[in-house]
Symmetry: C2
Subunit: 321 residues, 2 copies
Amino acid sequence: MIILSRSEIEALIDLDSALGAVEAGYVAASEGRATIPPVGYLAFPERDGDCHIKYGHIAGDPSFVVKIASGFYGNPLLGLPTSNGVMLVFSASTGILEAILLDEGFLTDLRTGLGGAVATRALCRPDARRVAIIGTGIQARWQIRCLRHAMKQTPLTFGLWGRSETKARETANVMASEGIDVEVAPDLERLCREADIIITTTPSRTPLIHDAWIRPGTHITAIGADAPGKQELDTALVIRADRRISDRLEQSLDHGEFSTAFTSGSIAAEDCAEIGAVLGGKATGRTRSDDITIADLTGIAIQDIAIAGSILDAYRLSMTG
Amino acid sequence: MIILSRSEIEALIDLDSALGAVEAGYVAASEGRATIPPVGYLAFPERDGDCHIKYGHIAGDPSFVVKIASGFYGNPLLGLPTSNGVMLVFSASTGILEAILLDEGFLTDLRTGLGGAVATRALCRPDARRVAIIGTGIQARWQIRCLRHAMKQTPLTFGLWGRSETKARETANVMASEGIDVEVAPDLERLCREADIIITTTPSRTPLIHDAWIRPGTHITAIGADAPGKQELDTALVIRADRRISDRLEQSLDHGEFSTAFTSGSIAAEDCAEIGAVLGGKATGRTRSDDITIADLTGIAIQDIAIAGSILDAYRLSMTG
């Protein structure tokens, strides 16, 4: 059995193959080739913590994956990271445990970044250049890294806004140390008005991005809303968008960015599509240069399956090569 | 983080503390102090395999536990065990993974044996001596081991019946090598008629144990029925029993030994009780010497939590001692 630590996993990451794996996973999910049961959940209210168990299997895959991820929001006060996690890979032929990926939540951050990059690349204008990143946390960094990698042929520029300018500078410095220029933007409205691509990564409960700020042709990828009550985008903007794309439609309509517009009856499920269907040619993505497109990503187990498989492939290659 | 292999786990087992932990877990579950979400499930029909994810938390416990257990029924043809499994123990204060118990299903076998022993000891007559074990698999052995340990002050005798006399002799030989005399019984009916305690451990889909064979005062612990369609006991016997006890009533009524009698309206939920309530003094167990008592055990995550905690306690003790 294979047991890999976080640092071993980090050393094995190959962003190209991971991007391809996440993309293929989205397609499999939308084509009904994936079994993804409801997410398991345990709450620890007295510790402001919770635990999610995501698991599933893609038909024909040699393995299946169980991910256990926790978020304990008082951990930073103890000097500990909020998020933790582990992924287990089992043989789909024998049920035998093949690998334990002790990633401590790293792979969840990465697969979320990859999912954003896949959706953004698929839906933005071919001539999109200016990327606005909203939020300054871990996920802001991963969205930048993964999009930069996914669109390395395109001379993207990155502007970053956060409520704390100090944290925005910190993130820009980290990105600079990795060779990616990120400009800190003091004015959220202006950043959005000038952007071709907007990626929102905040846990906001009131819409941050106003409809009036968004010009035709803009693509928006929204990552933050992953639970009821969270919303980063103006409902009017969701209604106005020409294409509404989701990683898993039932989640986006239930607790993602599309839920308010859906619940109020302003949009129907038929007015949305899944990214896997777009990637697989079964649904339309952007059709015109001035379409406003929104990708709402709430996260699905298929990304975990994809990233775990990608790490194990890389590990096996490193052993034989 | 602690990672323990199957052999390390086997060496750490202390049956007394494990029995106490399972007993305390049952009480906690029946008193509503445990959070036990629905079991997660993945099926692999083309491989005759499945995977169950059981998890939960007892209020106030420092840890929570996730168990992933698989059964792939074609494995023996490949020279592999049918069952596999791993238990993960997380801090309930920080969500951090504390321990991985690579037990390969061993702890599930053990905790099932312990659950049977706890229920049998609580419900049999004080003067019960003759134990009939039905079935010759792994669980027959664990029921014998655990009951013998749980009732070590009582001079129990064990008779064993299985469809294959060869396998029955094999199991008796294994037990003899562990110092426990087990007599192979050629006649199931006679074994049942003479027993004070009957423990059924088969995956039978047609009732094996007939009502007419059971004399007043007998206690029966049924372990085998853990899925719809399985049934070891005559429905008439279930209806006739004076006390019907379950580890988790909703499971026993849905897919355990009580389901046929319940579905046909012959018994109601109020005619049954949970073992935790009996152990905690909130429900009545055996009241008279000639009561027929039945314990139907379909298995609950609380047993996994209990056994994992017990192993970790023993490990920590071994490190400090």
